[in-house]
Subunit: 386 residues, 2 copies
């Protein structure tokens, strides 16, 4: 069990340093990190409950944390808060409450007369942000990124174990997934098969929508290699997988490319190039020795030097933890210095002129002597004879 | 094809009336309503792309609409915008752009020197809202609810046809779903079977997470009737279904209760009571003749008069359209007058002392002579002999 009291104490320390008097976090992965209160998987369409826009955690320097929760569906929150002594109060809204008044009450009482800033999680809603402004019109209002992420981005031992378990799940599911491939399957068929297999292996959910990219015969009508969702698996093609599991509140994110029948010489060469690019990056993931931007450049230079730089069309990777995409990001604009305990996807790729897409992806932790790969699936080129 | 130009013109008219100079909408169901640009189904965990927080539509009274879109994954947006002449510009961000500067540029140039308000969709992010404030510190900033919902809440003929089609899909899937029930299935088994069946019948997605509530033998450890997810289907029990389909950008939301073996006399009586409550509400859904709060009271009074008022624990229903939960809401606090073309779920229920949960739900449109039920599944009490 994580030490939530210590996490809240660290959060308050950061608030005090940045002159923040009141912090609001909606129910989210960030709230789970600080309190253990789980977040719901988003519904496919908006599914607001009366009062959702003021629900979440209110934290003052010396007050709270108070959890505000709509009545509808509150039984689960009541049960969760019951075993969390660090929560000072649970306020269950009724459908008749004036929700703006509830929000203003906590903002004003926690802020007092000290004049400190208000901070909201960056994904809190505009409606909530505007109401907070109205409740304390003299307050500077900031997004809470710099309070939250210096803490969340370093995974402690317990989190590392959970990240390894989420990575191991996809490693274990991968061979059974390959064994179910059949000629004629569509990208949708394969994606559903992947999702079902992850569920069989114990995933609580996928960590993101499964991506299945089939190269081979480019579709002139497709806007990009990623668009051709009605392609079918055929000989001479390839499949690039991109999937991950959510397990016990932590994500994996995994990629491999397999060839259906012998690949061309160029595809073999590019496959080895992509693997070499990834390996070079992993070796450089040494605590304190490199920035996110520099790491991106290490991998990108290798692909560029071989003449495929324009065909590596996305960032090298992203941090990962409770969310599949977390800051920092491995791209030219991010100057974060990498530290032990940061976990990243390392996912170089090349889009070939013939429509093929070759990529690899593992979750790798920064360590004192270089990156520690949480995945164990082989990087050897794989030809399937279907 | 909806007349998106007319919808944007109506939006600008509302902006002018409310002295709003610039409106920002993130990629969302609301953006789809006004432009036809589809929104992505949310990922299970945060899946931000670089620049996501400034992406969406910027609309001035005489400028735009401009769509801003992150580079990563932009091919789909490029293809969508290509056939939308109403979009004045598509701005694809790079990973090196200063996103705050991009946002400020559109806010400032569209606002000019006229001093009008800024409006953001209520679900836009705090980070975006704060950046908009910084870009125009003298501007009043408001949430765009009152610009958007007077338009969205009245479904036109084309939308009504799409709502009927989404409702018909669940009607058609319901008998095949009942035919697949077997003793010993868990709530999770049944929910997955429902989702698979909706997909077979052509749903693009579920409109929300399928709910399966089994009454019968209350689980003393469960916090409520909704919590008992490890229950199994058994004789003497009941199943209350709550599911919906997303089809061509519109939602259905449907509920029925079936009994596994003969129900008790009380259950029979309560079943008829819930149906009578729904029917009374539907009859009162006359254009201009009743408010949301009054309609809630019509249904609630019938249940309360029979002695079960405390066991009808949620609002009578909610508006529904592109989103499963839209304003207005059928509850005591909502004074909206109902108008022809508004579509609502009508979903009274009773939680019984023995743990049973009896409910019904249909999508019903307000009409000149009373409600028009878009669902056609029978309300007769149904006993399954498994």
């Amino acid at each position: 069990m994580p030490d939530y009291d210590a996490r809240i104490a660290s959060l308050r320390e950061a608030m005090a340093e940045q002159d923040v008097a009141v912090l609001f976090l909606p129910v989210s992965s960030t709230l789970e990190y600080f309190t253990g209160i789980s977040w719901p998987i988003p519904n496919p369409t908006e599914h607001d409950r009366p009062g959702d826009w003021v629900s979440g955690m209110y934290l003052g320097l010396d007050a709270g944390p108070v959890i505000v929760e709509p009545q509808m569906g509150s039984a689960a929150m009541v049960a969760q808060v019951a075993d969390k002594p660090g929560i000072s109060d649970l306020h269950v809204l009724t459908e008749l409450d004036d929700y703006g008044t509830v929000l203003a009450g906590y903002v004003q009482s926690m802020r007092g007369t000290g004049g400190g800033k208000l901070a909201l999680a960056e994904h809190a809603w505009a409606k909530t942000t505007i109401a907070a402004l109205c409740a304390a019109p003299d307050a500077e209002i900031i997004n809470a990124h710099d309070l939250i992420w210096p803490l969340r981005m370093i995974k402690d031992d317990e989190e590392q174990a959970l990240m390894r378990a989420a990575a191991q799940l996809v490693d274990e599911a991968y061979e059974p997934i390959l064994a179910q491939l059949q000629l004629g399957m569509t990208t949708g068929d394969i994606a559903r098969m992947v999702d079902d297999t992850l569920a069989e292996f114990g995933a609580d959910w996928t960590s993101f929508h499964t991506g299945i990219y089939m190269g081979g015969k480019p579709d002139p009508g497709a806007a990009s290699v990623f668009e051709a969702t009605d392609r079918v698996l055929e000989r001479g093609g390839s499949v690039a997988f991109d999937f991950g599991a959510l397990l016990d509140g932590y994500c994996s994110d995994f990629g491999r490319t397999v060839f259906i029948g012998e690949p061309s010489d160029e595809r073999r060469q590019v496959y080895e190039l992509v693997m070499a690019s990834q390996q070079a990056a992993i070796e450089r993931m040494v605590d304190g020795q490199i920035t996110a931007a520099q790491l991106d450049d290490v991998a990108r230079s290798i692909i560029a030097d071989a003449g495929y730089g324009e065909q590596f069309i996305h960032r090298l990777g992203h941090s990962i933890g409770k969310d599949v995409h977390e800051p920092p990001f491995l791209l030219e604009a991010d100057q974060t210095v990498l530290r032990t305990g940061m976990c990243f996807t390392i996912e170089p790729s090349v889009v070939l002129d013939d429509g093929g897409f070759i990529r690899v992806e593992d979750v790798v932790m920064v360590g004192p002597d270089g990156g520690v790969n949480f995945n164990s699936t082989s990087h050897e080129l794989r030809v399937l004879d279907l």
